[in-house]
């Protein structure tokens, strides 16, 4: 009986360990984010570093985001056309594409693309700096690495994701317009009228808030993974992979809750 009790404790310990690990990682990521937030309001304000990160996260991710957005808009138009044609509702293709993009696909796909491109780079760059003692060098030169490395990246994530998303929304709708109007012969006036009729400003606005949240998540997770890298080159690779995986999963999970709250 006593043995059984000990075994049960061990089983619970074993089963709970990964959960505790996840909780600990989550807590440390949140702490890093708050620390970066506090440093954002303390001098020196390195605007050049912040603009540089905005360029990396925003401008340099533009091409992949545009390709993804235009493809998504075109595919959405094609797929919804075949569905709506069954009951003569082809005119709703435009509104379907626009609503799907602004509320869901625009923010989520943009965040996933930025995670793959900029998030992994953030983790790899900061991770390399960690293993090559460059973060120690920052401390040694009286420069706080959270303020110098983490804060600008998180800020760039929060600011640039909505900008990329609005571009993705627009380009995606253009892609849908091209397929719907030019290739599938939907009336251009009806296509646009349904968009104006059904897409509310709130849909676009909430989508942008979502994207800012995703920007925060992906940059905080990626910086955290990079900042606490251990184990040389292998550790840097592991951090970059984990940054993408954890950011992606976190984006999907938070998307559900954000959608439930907003819409």
């Amino acid at each position: 009986m006593v043995d059984l009790k000990i075994d049960m404790v061990k089983i619970f310990e074993y089963a709970g360990r990964p959960f505790l690990g996840i909780l600990e990682e989550f807590g440390r990521t949140v702490l890093l984010f708050f620390s970066a937030g506090a440093w954002a309001f303390r001098p020196p304000f390195r605007l050049r570093v912040i603009f540089k990160q905005m360029e990396t996260v925003g401008v340099n991710s533009l091409t992949v985001v545009l390709i993804t957005a235009i493809s998504s808009g075109m595919v959405l138009a094609l797929q919804s056309y075949y569905g709506f044609r069954m009951f003569g509702g082809e005119g709703l293709v435009g509104a379907t594409v626009a609503l799907s993009l602004t509320r869901e696909i625009g923010p989520v796909f943009t965040a996933l693309m930025v995670t793959g491109r900029a998030g992994s780079a953030m983790a790899a760059e900061i991770g390399t700096m960690r293993v090559k003692e460059q973060i120690d060098a920052l401390y040694a030169m009286s420069v706080n690495p959270v303020q110098f490395l983490v804060m600008p990246r998180i800020l760039a994530g929060i600011l640039m994701l909505p900008v990329l998303t609005i571009v993705a929304d627009f380009i995606g709708i253009m892609g849908g317009y091209f397929v719907g109007v030019r290739l599938l012969d939907i009336n251009s006036g009806i296509f646009m009228a349904r968009i104006y009729e059904m897409v509310k400003l709130g849909d676009i606005f909430n989508g942008l808030i979502k994207s800012a949240c995703f920007g925060l998540i992906l940059s905080a997770v990626s910086c955290y993974k990079g900042f606490y890298t251990t184990g040389g080159a292998q550790g840097v690779g592991r951090s970059a992979t984990q940054a993408v995986v954890v950011s992606t999963v976190s984006i999907f999970i938070s998307d559900f809750f954000l959608t439930a709250v907003m819409f």
């Binding site: 020196p44 760059e125 390399t128 700096m129 090559k132 003692e133 460059q134 120690d136 060098a137 401390y139 040694a140 030169m141 009286s142 420069v143 706080n144």
Partner: protein, 248 residues
């Protein structure tokens, strides 16, 4: 002056520093000698506040840095320059930007003056004309020299050298040794060098501290170390392994 008193540090079950006492005199070159993995870098990281001891005090002049908060510690660190083992140059910046980094962070000097200081420091370490080069374009010795130029950019009172000649060929090692001697003479800074290279130690050191099993077992001028009665010191100087090292 730097003073470590009763410093203890453990990583997991392994006690690396075991009640270590060490007094490093000002305006001299002090070399901390010890085997690989004996905790030399740990001492250096404690001196600059990158690590906190489990117990004990670390005084920089008269300030116990173990009691300071981050902001106060940052102020103390402004007295330091540190050359890291692999130089720790920022890969995304040119050599010139690396050297200018502490000047841009901690002074309000005009750009022209920063550029002048950068060129002066690079010339001091024999890297004139390397301002626009990226760290990836430099050899190991050049990286160390660029790292030293960055470390002395703010004319620090204390310069720490973490294994400055490890991985360099004998001629470049000698050049770096000369550079350390020249830098100390020129800046009158307190220099702390950690190494396991005996020839280099006897060439540059005013004082030598011998680290063994988490403690300083011998301290003094090179002659005192040469004539030390301590068995480990003698074995280390002669480069003799024994059964106790586990690799005999």
């Amino acid at each position: 002056m730097i003073r470590l008193s009763g410093v203890t540090k453990s990583f997991g079950r392994q006690r690396v520093l075991d009640g270590l006492d060490l007094e490093i005199p000002g305006e001299k070159i002090t070399v901390i000698l010890g085997q690989s993995g004996s905790g030399k870098s740990v001492i250096l990281k404690h001196i600059i506040g990158l690590m906190k001891p489990d117990s004990g005090e670390i005084y920089i002049n008269s300030t116990d840095i173990t009691k300071l908060n981050d902001r106060e510690l940052n102020e103390v660190r402004k007295q330091f320059g540190m050359l890291f083992q692999d130089a720790a140059l920022f890969d995304s910046m040119t050599v010139g930007e690396n050297v200018a980094f502490p000047l841009r962070e901690h002074t309000r000097l005009p750009k022209k003056e920063v550029r002048r200081i950068v060129e002066e420091k690079l010339e001091q370490v024999g890297l004139k004309g390397a301002t626009e080069k990226m760290p990836s374009e430099l050899s190991g010795g050049m990286r160390k020299r660029a790292g030293l130029a960055r470390a002395i950019a703010l004319d620090p009172k204390i310069i720490l050298f973490d294994e400055p000649i490890t991985g360099l060929d004998p001629i470049m090692s000698d050049a770096i040794d000369n550079l350390i001697i020249h830098t100390q003479k020129y800046t009158r800074a307190t220099c702390v060098v950690i190494t396991h290279n005996i020839a280099s130690t006897f060439k540059i050191a005013h004082n030598i501290a011998m680290l063994y099993e988490g403690k300083i077992v011998e301290f003094g001028e090179p002659d005192r170390i040469r004539n030390s009665p301590h068995a480990f010191v003698q074995r280390f100087i002669r480069g003799e392994a024994s059964e106790k090292d586990g690799i005999y």
